[in-house]
Amino acid sequence: MRLTLAALALCLPTAALSDVARAVESEILPGFERFATATAALDTAAQASCTGPELEAAYNDAFDAWIGVSHVVFGPIEDQGLTLSFAYWPDPKNQTGKTLGRLIADEDPVAADPATYGDVSVAAQGFFALERMLYEPPGTGDYACTLTQAIAATLAANAASVTTAWSDFAGVVTSAGADGNTRFKSDEEARRAIYTALSTGLEFIHDQRLARPLGTFDRPRPTRAEARRSGRSLRNVTEALRALQALSVAFSDDPTPNLDAAYERAFTRIAAIDSPDFSGVSNPGQRLRIEALQVDVKEIQIETINEIGAAMGLSAGFNALDGD
């Protein structure tokens, strides 16, 4: 009897956890905790000094943490309308540069009050606004410093807000299908939300982070690379793939050998790319490797469909993919 109970106790924590609960508890919640902590540290660093290596280090840590959860837009981020407030990219019209330039030119007093800075255009908020202020400042001096601090403070406050909301929302996700759960009316709906996070996260890497700077062979577009000013273009791809792989592993009930292999190929390829800001898209040798990485990501997308989506009976949107 004692043995049976012990065995039960040993089994329960894992056996009782559904794929959805594993994804939420082992990846999503810790990811948001890390995001809140890292952005709080970024805010502290910015209030201490609005330029310098310590702030840049805190910025990079916080950006890594954001990449760790940026694909989890369903739930609090979407409900609070904060997707673009964290990351306004792609930005083909340079809205971030224009909006920051305008704030600085006007010395807009909105920056003096971090409590209301969240009301300014989302293009002047989040990681890409802060990147401008740190790596290609449209202005310097007291006002620019105040602006940097306001962006960091707002970012930290928003991160805290979505992280707090996730502690409740986690229960909504993991109780999918229960009476009174109007958000997720079945397990399948919750599974689909996580699967969509995986597939759209991968699609964003392929179609935006890689395809935009690659452009065409005749016309590479290095200035379209994400976070090129902070030299994080490749790092964002790496961090995103790591986070998506971890979420896949937690989410999937079955072994995913082809998917695992596809991720390994991508990480091996990344190690051979010597162009952190993807300026190498204009250099034939580097370009070849970045193009090959894009193919690797496509393989990951395909194996995600085969080994996770199909295995769970999930497919991408019938209408979303139709294009008519």
Partner: protein, 356 residues
Amino acid sequence: MPSRRAILAGLAAATALPRAGWADAGAPSHVTAALDKSGAFALYGLRPDGALAFRVPLPARGHAAAVHPTAPEAVAFARRPGTFALVLDCQSGAVLGELTSPPGRHFYGHGAFSRDGTRLYTTENIVDTGEGRISIWSRSEGYRRIGDFPSGGIGPHEVIRIPGTTRLAIANGGIRTHPATGRDKLNLDTMRPNLTIAAEDGTHLDTAGVPDAMHQNSLRHITARADGLVACAFQWQGDAFDSPTLLALYRAGQGLDFIPFDDAVTRQMVGYAGSVALSSDGTGLAVTSPRGGLVVSVDIATRASTIARRPDICGVAPGSDAIIATDGLGQVHRLSDRLQPLASHPLAFDNHLVAI
């Protein structure tokens, strides 16, 4: 005890001829194409409560249907670039006839009946020249094709009739495609979408083009109010992150009036509006973005908009007291200030929901 078949046959005999009404088909309020779990495509009738009223098998993926103004008859169109359309008796499920696009042409997936119900209009592409045409088919002659006229542009996608009138509205998407290259878009640099208003005899009455600065905003789906207001939903062919707004209102002689959304909403629509519908009282409209998984509701008078989220939501049509929406996960919703589930089916509802 008589068999179900006998009862149905008796019902059909009692009510079908000469002028059966829509109430006979299990009182459906809407029709839509869908895919079932076995991979089969069919046209379904939906009742006001979201329940299924009938099912008529289709040979391939459907797109939209033209509903006859009085008879329980619908013409279901193949998905672009299909060449068939089926005339269906929605009472018995019988296929009454089949339309085949003329040689060298294909359909775009939409059509509309004349006010008196005697003629059907279909949007077509002349493959060799890329010219858009509207064919006219005579219902009383077994849907014989009796003529055609220019659509007023390239790539006419949806044609509708403005309710209560004999005027047609034609959404010329502007994009040239060729079946040999599937859905490849051949003229993105030069495309010029427009809305063309035509009389039922084909006379063009007005044309409203998109501004030069957004000439890649392809007009695809439209819906109209009896006063002639046409709501227009677009699909942006440029950089999705540089997308202009995807909704405009047309009023006679006043061109297209684009309705801006919040930048964040436009970005989430990923340059793609799937369907558009007016509320039955004509004061509001809804435009869907299946890619963004959201539906935007707009108050026409104030132009204020609100969003509701649902993955793969696409079909929208007026219901008695609210807009009804369908999604690729088989859900039927009532759209009030939020999406309220009405019914759930093991189906993937296709792009369009058509009110009867």
